[in-house]
């Protein structure tokens, strides 16, 4: 019993550390990728003992800078709420990862350890709920700042997140109908088979429309360009206008975490999670008849690696989008959410239901 508890604790620490490190890494990816897109060099000066490593230490330098900045609260702000808001934003987004399986079950010292912090039976709902609760961070920050720009930003943010929550939820209904489970672990396992004998049975192939709606709605949920209504730094400066130092850092970090959460959820729900195409428990079984036997540890390692690579791919894709498009206008975002994505989500449910009923 104690051992089990310790294992869960260790996995929780591991998952959190992985997420936070990935978020730090993502700040570097964002700097470098935008630099490549824009014909710049990007951050490359931060060094440890003269070692630069393409600016990989820049996130650390940024973190140190954030820590040592003055923790400023405007005199007109509501102090307690002002302090609470970044913590709310950060907390709700960072707990989402506990429900996500990042590998299959490994056998260590005669004990079966699923590579997932907790296998919640309603993990899909849990993830959606946590993403929605992140809205409170935005609302509270805007209200507590007592600044009009922040207030507009937080109202926009709340409206946007709630609207896209509808599309996000609808887009997943079809998926849940296909893989009849709300547990992320079951959904990933269900994506292990093959379609037509060669295509991995991933959610994206069964639910292409569902994925499109999910991904766009998820992008809107990350509040980044082209959906950065709540921030809109050149329009209304954003809901964290009155924040500085580490509190602002937490908001920014929560943004990067949201990017990761979207990448993780896209991977898990639609791209097979830790599944590698044609890789079974004993090794590869290719559709053209070839076989490649692998040791169980190698299979597990490949699966964890595959999960990470898929997540990185989606992070990369989001950064690419962010540096390519201009910003929507608030009413256009609302139109897109309610008039395009929600109807598409409903159509997707109907189509899925018809196909399932016809079978």
């Amino acid at each position: 019993m104690l051992v089990d508890a310790l294992i869960v604790l260790a996995k929780a620490v591991l998952a959190l550390a992985w997420t936070l490190l990935l978020a730090l890494f993502l700040t570097w990816v964002e700097r470098k990728e935008s630099a490549v897109i824009q014909d710049r060099v990007g951050a490359n000066r931060a060094s440890v003992m003269g070692l630069r490593l393409f600016g990989l230490f820049q996130p650390l330098a940024d973190a140190i800078k954030m820590f040592f900045k003055e923790d400023f609260t405007p005199s007109f702000a509501q102090r307690a709420l002002h302090r609470l808001a970044p913590a709310l934003s950060f907390f709700f987004v960072s707990v989402t990862v506990v429900a996500v399986p990042f590998g299959d079950t490994v056998h260590l010292f005669g004990r079966a350890v699923p590579l997932q912090v907790v296998d919640l039976s309603a993990a899909v709902l849990f993830a959606l709920a946590m993403l929605s609760l992140g809205t409170y961070g935005i609302l509270v920050s805007g209200w507590a700042s007592a600044s009009r720009f922040a207030l507009i930003g937080s109202l926009r943010g709340a409206a946007q997140l709630i609207s896209y929550e509808a599309a996000l939820g609808l887009s997943l209904v079809g998926l849940v109908m296909v893989f009849p489970s709300l547990s992320l672990a079951r959904i990933v396992e269900a994506q292990g088979g093959l379609l037509f004998g060669f295509l991995p049975r991933w959610g994206v192939f069964l639910q292409p429309l569902g994925f499109a709606v999910f991904y766009i709605a998820g992008m809107a949920g990350t509040k980044r360009v082209p959906f950065d209504m709540p921030e809109g730094e050149s329009e209304i400066i954003g809901f964290y206008t009155e924040y500085g130092g580490l509190k602002f850092g937490l908001f920014m970090f929560a943004d990067f975490l949201e990017v990761i959460v979207l990448a993780v959820l896209s991977t898990t729900l639609f791209f097979g999670g830790w599944q590698v195409p044609w890789l079974g428990g004993e090794g590869f079984a290719f559709p053209w008849g070839g076989r490649l036997a692998l040791a169980p540890w190698a299979v597990s390692a490949l699966r964890v690696l595959a999960f990470n690579l898929k997540v990185l791919f989606f992070c990369w894709l989001q950064v690419l989008t962010r540096w390519t498009y201009p910003r929507f206008r608030y009413d256009q975002v609302m139109d897109l959410g309610w008039k395009v994505l929600v109807p598409l989500g409903v159509v997707n449910i109907l189509a899925t239901g018809l196909v399932l009923a016809a079978r």
């Binding site: 935008s34 897109i37 824009q38 014909d39 710049r40 009009r148 720009f149 507009i152 926009r156 360009v225 082209p226 950065d228 809109g232 730094e233 050149s234 329009e235 209304i236 400066i237 540096w323 390519t324 498009y325 201009p326 910003r327 929507f328 206008r329 608030y330 009413d331 256009q332």
Partner: protein, 443 residues
């Protein structure tokens, strides 16, 4: 406690007042827009200018004709060379002097470089404020190449003071052809990239099409000129309407829009840059290479002054780097020789008594450039529109009154009407596409 503004007095009790600027990322630090909001909708707006006021016009009354040139650099700080040109040509009109053809071509060349730089900056800021940061950096990259050409020749990127009354200060830099070719090629490449990123981008089109639209009649009655007026379909361009320099010998089109909305202003500017690049190429082809300097020994200025105490030195005098390009042999092509209008050749100042006297006569108080009594208006096509100078001379060594017709002022005065009834987010591309330049509007 400041007295309440017009907007504050007229605001309905329930609405939210929002103060955009002057400390606001999109207001460039030089403008304040007060908004009365109903949720996100703008019920009423009030624009306030004057945050960059430094008394340009008044200062000019206390500077000699020659000395006040440097103040014109700071008017439209994105295209300073066109301001230099406008001022210099107004004074030339008063004096009635003719400028050598080579100087005219150089003036056309640097004006068009400035015009492209101006449009690039405007669109870059507009794109960045709409969230397209990549477009901003692309456009600014192209501007760097253009400014390389300007910097090689004038020695400065912004405070150029290069176009002087009666001509230009110096000849083009020896490597100008290569630099110009690189700049034109790079700008074309960037314009193609930007067209690809924005022209048919549904987000960008959705944010700009139909937003901030103004009718042709309204635009004319507000006194709009330049790309903003042309976006409404009026083909008014000072370069065509009242050709100056050698523009009548160059072939270029005047692109016009239809709707006068933000998208048209963007499109007109994009197409105008193409035309300016065409002009640049034509002007470069018409410009012969600078005459080579004679061979022979060169001496330092100190040496020349020393020797000339006994007998005029025959050797060429090495000019300091900041005078590079204005050698005595080159001046006839660059500046008029009618009367004491331009700075005399520095070699003569160093080596002859007459030259030294000429130098003093040019710079001494009460001497130098003294246009006859009277008043004159002259305008050139600036980056934003008709840039006009109205100058009254009382025959002394400084203007009696100088008034600048800044194209921005007339354009920005319509901003309140353009944003009324729209959303907060519409202020940004509208304001960006008008290209408000603080240095020009506040004077």
């Amino acid at each position: 406690m400041a007295s309440p503004t017009r907007l504050e007095r007229s605001a309905r009790p329930g609405s939210m007042l929002l103060n955009m600027g002057p400390s606001h990322p999109a207001m460039h630090g030089t403008m304040r827009i007060m908004l009365e909001l109903d949720a996100e909708r703008i019920v009423n707006a009030e624009c306030e200018i004057g945050y960059l006021h430094r008394g340009f016009e008044k200062t000019c009354e206390n500077k000699t004709w020659f000395n006040l040139l440097v103040y014109t650099d700071r008017l439209n700080y994105v295209s300073p060379l066109i301001n230099n040109l406008g001022y210099a040509m107004t004074v030339e009109k008063m004096l009635g002097v003719a400028v050598p053809e080579r100087a005219q071509l150089i003036r056309v060349l640097v004006s068009e470089l400035s015009r492209v730089a101006d449009h690039l900056t405007c669109l870059a800021a507009m794109a960045m404020e709409s969230g397209a940061f990549t477009v901003f950096l692309y456009l600014i990259k192209a501007r760097e190449y253009l400014w390389d050409v300007v910097e090689f020749t004038t020695g400065a990127r912004m405070t150029t003071s290069y176009i002087r009354i009666g001509g230009v200060r110096a000849d083009l830099h020896a490597d100008w052809r290569a630099a110009l070719a690189a700049a034109v090629a790079e700008t074309r490449r960037v314009l193609k990239d930007v067209s690809g990123l924005l022209d048919n981008n549904s987000i960008f089109v959705g944010r700009t099409r139909g937003v901030g639209a103004i009718s042709r009649e309204d635009a004319l009655s507000y006194g709009w000129t330049g790309p903003c007026l042309r976006s409404t379909g009026v083909p008014y361009d000072v370069r065509k309407a009242r050709p100056y320099l050698v523009y009548d010998r160059l072939s270029f089109d005047v692109p016009v829009g239809e709707n006068g909305d933000n998208y048209d202003r963007y499109a007109v500017r994009m197409r105008e840059m193409e035309q300016s690049l065409r002009i640049l190429e034509q002007a470069a082809a018409l410009l012969p290479d600078a005459p080579p300097l004679p061979d022979g020994p060169v001496i330092e200025p100190e040496e020349a002054v020393c020797r000339s105490r006994r007998r005029r030195a025959v050797e060429r005098v090495r000019l300091p780097p900041n005078l590079e390009g204005s050698e005595k042999e080159r001046l006839p092509g660059l500046a008029t020789s009618d009367g004491p209008v331009t700075v005399p050749a520095k070699e003569d100042t160093y080596t002859t008594m007459e030259g030294l006297i000429g130098h003093f006569l040019f710079f001494m108080r009460g001497k130098g450039i003294r246009p006859p009594k009277g008043d004159v208006y002259f305008s050139v096509e600036g980056g934003n529109g008709e840039l006009g100078f109205y100058i009254v001379s009382d025959g002394t060594d400084r203007p009696y009154r100088l008034h600048l017709r800044a194209p921005c002022l007339h354009i920005v005065s319509a901003l309140e009407e353009l944003i009324k009834g729209r959303l907060v987010a519409d202020v940004i591309p509208t304001f960006g596409s008008l290209n408000m330049i603080g240095g020009e509007i506040d004077r």
